[in-house]
Symmetry: C2
């Protein structure tokens, strides 16, 4: 199944045949004081810089989140979406927990974006899926529901199935649902990565949809996170992940190396271009 | 199946349940001028240093190779094996293309070593396997034969099967045969890693034996080899590799991160100890 995002004629396809699609995660003020301050002060140059840098580092899609405590997200998110969209040509991934902010941002977002995210909570299913359908967007479905994040792959598959069925029922094409099996830190639960990898395999096998991963949670609270994240990314691609929300400045090398090793990078052109770019930047 | 190596009561088990066994590759003068000169001058202190360093960096087993052009390997290899065995307590992996050198080294090597290597060539099968059996050693079987290295996983499996059958027929227990599916550089052949990963899966599924990998060939001739090697190691563990000949100073982090992610490192003890050691060494 192929999920196609689009922006002014530029199509980005998420597909099991690869290459792995990188969604740049840096335009997100959560835990990012500098960006948070810049957004509060309506200094959007820093947002433009983050957008440019991530595309240069290899991102195909940019996640845009504007959630800051005590700031009106319904006004801010569409504004940031417009700033980014006016500055660079890439499909966007609109990231919010607020229905109103999502709705407002989707109105101003050009092309066919990805919505981040719905999950198995009844409230989310009822309110987010119609927004996605009416806008003709694609959507990330997180495998959690009103009871939290299940500890088994089978239960996570059930939630993925529920989200997919509900989406299809209201008229969203199945290929526009991308499942995110969620990963918690192995610092707290030894089986955290095992469960996520098993969920990826199950969802790929049973539902055939694309799989997104926010991979860096896996190493939260641990030292040398880069090495753990690199290993986890490769393991998740091997299990069937097709798309990843990440910092391309840190992990593009591993993602492009994986594509190269999967035989999806003829003559290593993309990997070699990345290495040249990295050397130049140093 | 579990392959057990032994040295003075210290057992190292290679098993699909992990942890991944690291065989340190650094005691090998091929392309290593400093070691080559040291060995020629019978300056064995450097060999002792390499042995120590690799064990500190996480190696479980040490590969010992003493092949230098115009030097009598049949005399040198057993000498180096004794030097290493007298200095550190770890099972050894005796690495030579010379039957006489292997035979002489196996005589002086303590414990139960690994022999590196036999392959599907008739001459090798006839001469190396009896040495392995008579010494009660384990052996690495490379999936190549008199016609070279096959380009398909199915043909490599056939060679693995041939080696295993011949070993068992003369009285070597099947668990003492570790198959190395070989990897060539993706710089020359886009499908090189894909074929190796497919071979790992096939051999694990059909023969159930342990799989060793000399992983760093995969990036030969390419820049940023470390990133490619890291990704390839994780992919190969995901496919079923259980043992790897590598430079633990460079790749122990990725190997230990993989064990952590596979849920084989309770409380991350081994990974955290590795990070502390690395920080101290800096």
């Amino acid at each position: 199944m192929t999920t196609t995002l689009e922006r002014d004629g530029l199509e980005i396809q998420i597909t099991p045949d690869g290459p792995i699609v990188m969604i740049g995660e840096k335009i997100n003020p959560t835990g990012h004081k500098k960006l948070s301050e810049a957004l509060k002060n309506r200094n959007f140059d820093y947002v433009r810089t983050l957008a440019e840098r991530q595309l240069e580092a290899g991102a195909h899609v940019l996640d845009v989140n504007a959630s800051i405590p005590d700031v009106d997200e319904t006004r801010l998110l569409p504004e940031v979406v417009k700033i980014v969209a006016d500055h660079v040509q890439a499909p966007l991934c609109i990231d919010s927990n607020s229905f109103d902010a999502l709705e407002a941002a989707l109105k101003v977002c050009p092309g066919k974006p990805l919505v981040n995210s719905v999950n198995g909570e009844q409230n989310k299913l009822q309110r987010v899926l119609p927004l996605v359908r009416d806008r003709g967007a694609a959507v990330i479905g997180l495998t959690m529901d009103d009871s939290g994040i299940p500890t088994t792959a089978e239960k996570r598959l059930e939630i993925a199935e529920l989200i997919l069925n509900r989406a299809v029922k209201i008229g969203i094409p199945p290929e526009d649902v991308v499942i995110d099996p969620l990963v918690l830190t192995v610092g707290a639960d030894q089986q955290a990565a095992v469960t996520t990898l098993a969920t990826i395999r199950l969802v790929r096998e049973k539902l055939g949809v694309n799989i997104n991963l926010g991979a860096s949670n896996v190493s939260f609270g641990l030292p040398d996170r880069q090495t753990i994240n690199q290993a986890f990314l490769a393991l998740s691609f091997s299990a069937g992940a097709t798309c990843v929300i990440t910092d391309p400045g840190k992990l593009a090398g591993t993602i492009l190396a994986s594509d190269l090793l999967f035989g999806r990078d003829p003559y290593g052109k993309r990997f070699l271009a990345h290495v040249r770019r990295t050397l130049k930047a140093k």
